[in-house]
Every structure is written in structure tokens, then in C-alpha cells.
Subunit: 131 residues, 2 copies
């Protein structure tokens, strides 16, 4: 059986993909993949997601240069979530110019931004989008 | 505004929740939370998920004793994914008796089980379920 057939794609044909820094272990982001994007991720050895908002393949870093090089790919027990251990080029995964998308911490009844912006998003993207 | 109102719940009123070991950084599992379960997670300082298969709250460790004590809670840029930094009691998060649910590694065109079972699931659960 093809390894892609073993995945329990959801009703939209997608699976959540968690990208984690292969050295520090920091979770950088979570996005979605369909069958084609996961196949291409392995083929091209870089994270390629399915952008639900734009309805097209999203080669992470295609505009920003912040490519995620694939080091390791894992599947969970229910075969419905994957982890990508990646090398994050540029050290920035988030469209806000931060290392990780998870820069807000719950504290005292609210979400507090605790991580610094490394690079101004306007200097990363021609237009301010998620790439 | 209430901190729970800032979350972009999906069409089913859920959000993916990634549980990560607060010391090693290992991703242990991904499950889902609704508004009630996330509120209770903070209130009780332990991971409480929403079980989609059983349609009820799932106090992680309710049967197994493998409670996840909450150390830190983070929200991503789109406010539609959360991370729980947890202390995993018993050192086992997966219903297969492994530390992490992500015990399968992609290698040579297939998924290979690379992590050992720490404890026989039959010794963990009265019935072999996800708790």
C-alpha cells in the first residue's frame, strides 16, 4: 500500500501538519496538507502546504524565502496528524516576522504577545499576506 | 473581551490543541478542544479535550492516570491553533502505551514504527479505547 493511502484524510482531503524546528524542538506553525502537497513535500524535501484560504499549493517560503527544509516526517497513531521536523531558513516561520506563530501566551486571563518580531513583515512580503 | 472569544473556532466550534512536553519539547499528541474544554483546561490546570468520536469532554488521563498538567498555553497568529506545554504524568501520552503518538517515521517510502511501547495498553485501560 502506498504510504499516502495510510493517512486518514479528513472530509476535505486534508491533514494537519505541525512544523517543528529539528534542533530546538520549538513548534513553528501548524498548517494543512492534502495528498498532493504531502507527496511533493517528500519529493522536494521542503514543506509544501495546502492553503485553504487561497485554494492552492503553498510552497512555504515561495515569496519570503523562508523555506522549511524537511529533516524528518512523522505520523501519529490515528494517522490523521503529521509532524515535520524542519530547518527553518531565515529563522522566521510566521508571517508576522516572528520565529514561531505561537507567540501569544495565556496569562492573567488574556493573551499576551511575548515573542519579538525579528523582521518587519513589510520587508518580507511585497504584499502583506501569509505569502 | 474574554480570552476565549479571541479564538477562531472552526465550523464545529473546535480548535486543534498540540500537547508538547514542557521539558523535552517533544510533541506528544494533537487533539481537539471546544470552548468548554479549553476553559476547564485553564481552570483545572490540566489538559481537557473534546472527544469528537465520543462527543463528550475528555479529561486526559481520566482512566489511564496519564494526566497532562498544564504549564503554559499559547495561541498562534491566526488564533486557530493552540499549544499546551505540559508535564505528562506517567511519561505516556499515547493510547498505544508510547510516550508520543508520533511514533511512526517516514522512511524509504513507508511508515516505520521507531518508538518502543513503554507499557502494554491492556495494563493501562480496562477496555482498549483512547481512554
Amino acid at each position: 500500500m502506498n504510504w499516502l493511502d495510510e493517512i486518514n484524510w479528513n472530509e476535505d482531503g486534508l491533514v494537519p501538519a505541525i512544523a517543528q524546528d529539528h534542533q530546538s524542538g520549538r513548534v513553528l506553525m501548524m498548517a494543512w496538507m492534502n495528498r498532493e502537497s504531502l507527496g511533493l513535500t517528500v519529493q522536494e524535501n521542503r514543506a509544501i502546504y495546502w492553503s485553504r484560504s487561497r485554494g492552492r499549493l503553498w510552497r512555504k517560503g515561495e515569496e519570503s524565502g523562508h523555506v522549511q527544509k524537511l529533516h524528518e516526517l512523522r505520523l501519529d497513531c490515528d494517522a490523521d496528524v503529521i509532524i515535520l521536523m524542519v530547518e527553518q531558513l531565515g529563522g522566521i516561520a510566521c508571517h508576522t516576522g516572528r520565529e514561531s506563530c505561537f507567540y501569544r501566551l495565556y496569562r492573567d486571563g488574556g493573551w499576551q504577545t511575548v515573542d519579538a518580531v525579528i523582521k518587519d513583515p513589510h520587508a518580507i512580503y511585497k504584499e502583506h499576506t501569509h505569502e
